[in-house]
C-alpha cells in the first residue's frame, strides 16, 4: 500500500509537468505578445513593450537558452522551477502582484480563508455539504420506498440535475428570484452573512446532489437484494438495524468514492457561478483573466486546478482500498 501511494504520488510529477507544458505551448502559440493582444485596448509602444518583456523575462528563449550563458535560463524552465517553489510569477495585468498572491493571499489583517481560494473552497464545501445532506437521505428513502411518489420525484429531480448544467439552472433561479420576485440581489457586496451564500451554493451543488441521490438509490437497491441482508432479516434483526448496520455500510462505498472528485469539480468548476454572482473567488478571477488576456494568471490557475483534480483522484483510490477490503490495490 505504501509503495503504491508513493508510486502514485511520483506519477503526479510528470502529469502536472505535461499539463504545464500543454498550457505553456498553447499560450505561446497565440499570435503577438501579451501586451498587444487586445486590439480594442490602447496599444503599448515598442520601447515600453521591450522594457516589459525584459522585466517579465519574456525576452528569454522558450525552452532552452542556446545563446550562451546558463542553458536552463529559459521561460519554461524558469516557470516550472518557480511553480515548484510555489512562485507562479507576476500577473501581467494586475501591477506588482504575483499570481499566487491573487489566489491565496487574503486581504490585509484577514485570515487565510478570506483569500480568493478560501472563498472558492468554502463555497465548494458548502455546496458539497448541501449535496450530501440532502442527496444521501433522499436516495435512501427513494430506494426503501421504491415506486412510491418519493421515488418518482427523486428520480425526476436527479435526472434534471444531472442533465441540465448548473449555469443554466443558475440563470433560471436568478431570473425568478432576483428579477421577478425581488428576494435576491444578484450582485452581493456583502458575503459575511450565511444567507448570501445559500443561493450560489445550492445552484453549484445541485448537479452533485442529483448525482449522489441517484448513486445512493441504485447502490441501496443493489445491496437490498444481497444474501447477507436476507440473512440479517432471517435471524430477526429489526429493519432499522439492518439498514444502518448492513445496508448503508456497503451502499455508501460508491458514494464515498465520488466525493473527492466531486469536491474538486465543485471548487474548480465554479467559475461561471462565481462570475454570475460576482463572488470573490478564484473562478471569477479566472474569468476576468480570460477577458483581459492575463496569461500568467490563466496558466497559474490552470496548474493549480489540475493539481487539485489529480490529488482528489489519488485520494479516492487510496480511500477505496480502506473502505472496501475486497478491492485490492495492485
Amino acid at each position: 500500500m505504501t509503495t503504491y501511494i508513493i508510486r502514485r504520488l511520483l506519477w503526479l510529477v510528470p502529469v502536472l509537468f505535461f499539463v504545464a507544458l500543454i498550457t505553456f505551448l498553447l499560450m505561446h502559440s497565440a499570435p503577438g505578445g501579451p501586451w498587444d493582444r487586445d486590439p480594442s485596448a490602447r496599444q503599448v509602444d515598442a520601447t515600453t513593450q521591450k522594457t516589459l518583456n525584459q522585466r517579465f523575462g519574456l525576452d528569454k528563449a522558450l525552452f532552452l537558452n542556446l545563446d550562451g550563458g546558463n542553458p536552463f535560463d529559459s521561460q519554461f524552465i524558469n516557470y516550472i522551477t518557480g511553480a515548484i517553489r510555489g512562485d507562479l510569477g507576476p500577473s501581467y495585468r494586475q501591477r506588482g502582484v504575483d499570481v499566487q498572491d491573487i489566489l491565496f493571499k487574503p486581504p490585509k489583517n484577514k485570515p487565510f480563508w478570506e483569500s480568493r481560494f478560501g472563498y472558492s473552497a468554502r463555497l465548494g464545501l458548502l455546496a458539497m455539504g448541501l449535496a450530501v445532506v440532502f442527496g444521501i437521505p433522499l436516495g435512501i428513502v427513494a430506494a426503501l420506498r421504491r415506486n412510491s411518489w418519493v421515488d418518482y420525484s427523486a428520480l425526476f429531480v436527479s435526472t434534471m440535475g444531472i442533465s441540465v448544467p448548473s449555469f443554466v439552472l443558475g440563470i433560471f433561479l436568478i431570473i425568478i428570484l432576483a428579477t421577478q420576485l425581488n428576494v435576491l440581489t444578484i450582485i452581493q457586496k456583502d458575503w459575511s452573512s450565511p444567507a448570501a451564500w445559500l443561493v450560489p451554493a445550492s445552484i453549484l451543488g445541485f448537479g452533485t446532489f442529483a448525482y449522489i441521490t441517484r448513486l445512493t438509490r441504485s447502490s441501496m437497491l443493489e445491496v437490498m437484494s444481497q444474501d447477507y441482508v436476507r440473512t440479517a432479516r432471517a435471524k430477526g434483526l429489526g429493519p432499522r438495524l439492518i439498514i444502518s448496520r448492513h445496508m448503508l455500510r456497503n451502499a455508501l462505498i460508491p458514494v464515498a468514492t465520488i466525493l473527492g472528485p466531486a469536491l474538486a469539480a465543485l471548487v474548480t468548476g465554479a467559475f461561471i457561478i462565481e462570475s454570475m454572482f460576482a463572488f470573490p473567488g478564484m473562478g471569477r478571477e479566472y474569468v476576468k483573466s480570460i477577458g483581459n488576456r492575463d496569461y500568467s494568471m490563466i496558466m497559474g490557475t490552470t496548474l493549480f486546478f489540475a493539481f487539485l483534480v489529480v490529488l482528489s483522484n489519488l485520494a479516492v483510490d487510496i480511500v477505496y482500498g480502506f473502505l472496501d477490503p475486497r478491492i485490492k490495490v495492485e
Binding site: W11, S163, P165, G207, Y211, T302, V309, N313
Partner: protein
Amino acid sequence: MTATATQANQKIKSAADAKQSADDVFSRAPRSLWHDAWTRLLSNKAAVVGGVMILLFVFVAIFAPLIAPHNPLELNSGKGFLPPAWVDRSATGKAGDPNFLLGTDNLGRDVLSRLIYGARVSLVVGIVPTIIILFVGIVVGLFAGYKGGKVDNGLMRLTDIVYAFPDLLFFIIVMTALRNTAIGQLLNGLFLLFVALAIVNWVGVARLVRGQTLSHKEKEFVLAARATGVPTSRIMYNHILPNSLGPIIVAAAFLIPGAIITEAILGYLGLGLRPATDPTDIFITSWGAMLLDGQSAINNQPWLLLAPAICVAIVVLSFNFVGDGLRDALDPRTRVDG
C-alpha cells in the same frame, strides 16, 4: 474535471457493462438483440419524448431558413427590446408584437429566428466532434485492447494526463490562445471547438472500447475466428466491434449533450462562435452567444437570457432521456430504476 465531465465519465463507465447481457438474449427465439432493444426503447416514455424532441430539433436546425419568420440578422430599428408577444408592458415599456413571437434583442433582431438558427450550431457542435471522437476512439481502443503493448501503455498514460486537465479549462485556454489564428477563424471558430472537444473526449471512448475488447478477446467466438485463420483486422472490426457497439452507442448519446453544453458555456464566456454579419453564413448565431447577449440585459429583458437557456435545457434533457433509455434498452440489468 468539471461536474459535467465527471458525470459523463461515470456514464461511459456504466455503459461499459451494457453489453454483457447479449448472451441471455441470444438464447431465446430468433429475435435479434437490436430488435429487442428497440422494443424496450419504445416502451420507455421519457426516451420516446426525448427522441421526438431531438427529431424536431434536427428538423428545425436543417430547415432554419424556411422556418425562421425573420432574417436573424435584420435590424428592426425602433423595435429593440420588444418583450415576447403575449407580454403587455405598455404602461411602463413596449408591448409585445405578434410579429416577433419571442420578442427582440437590443438591436431589434427577432429572438425566435435567432434561436432557430442557433439550433444549427448546437446540432453541428453535438454531432461533428462525436463522429471524430468515435472514429479515433474505436480505432485506438480496439488496437490497444487487442494488441496491448506500447499502444496500450501509451493510451493509459495519456488518459492520466487528459483526466488531470480540467476539461473546461482546456477548452477555455485553447479558445483564448488560438482564437485569432487562421485555424481559430475557420467556420466562425467552430472548427477549433470541434478539435478541442475531440482531443479531450476521444480518450474516454478509447478506454471504453479497450475494456470491451479486453473482455471479448478471450471469448470463444474470437478464439474460433482466430483458429479458422481470420486476419486480425477482421477479428477486430467484424467480430469484436459489433459486440461492443451497445456501450459505444450509449457513450455517444451522452457525448452530444456534453458538447452542446460546452458550446453554451464557451459562448457565455465570449469564447464561442464568432458573430456573423454575412447573411449567407451557415452559422449565424449560437445559443451560447445569445446567452452572452442576454446576460447584459438580465434585469429588464430577462426573456433574452431565458429563451436560449430554455432551449439548451430542453435539448440537453432530451439527449439525456434518450441516452438513459438506450442504456436501459441495451442492458436491462443496469437500469437506474431497478
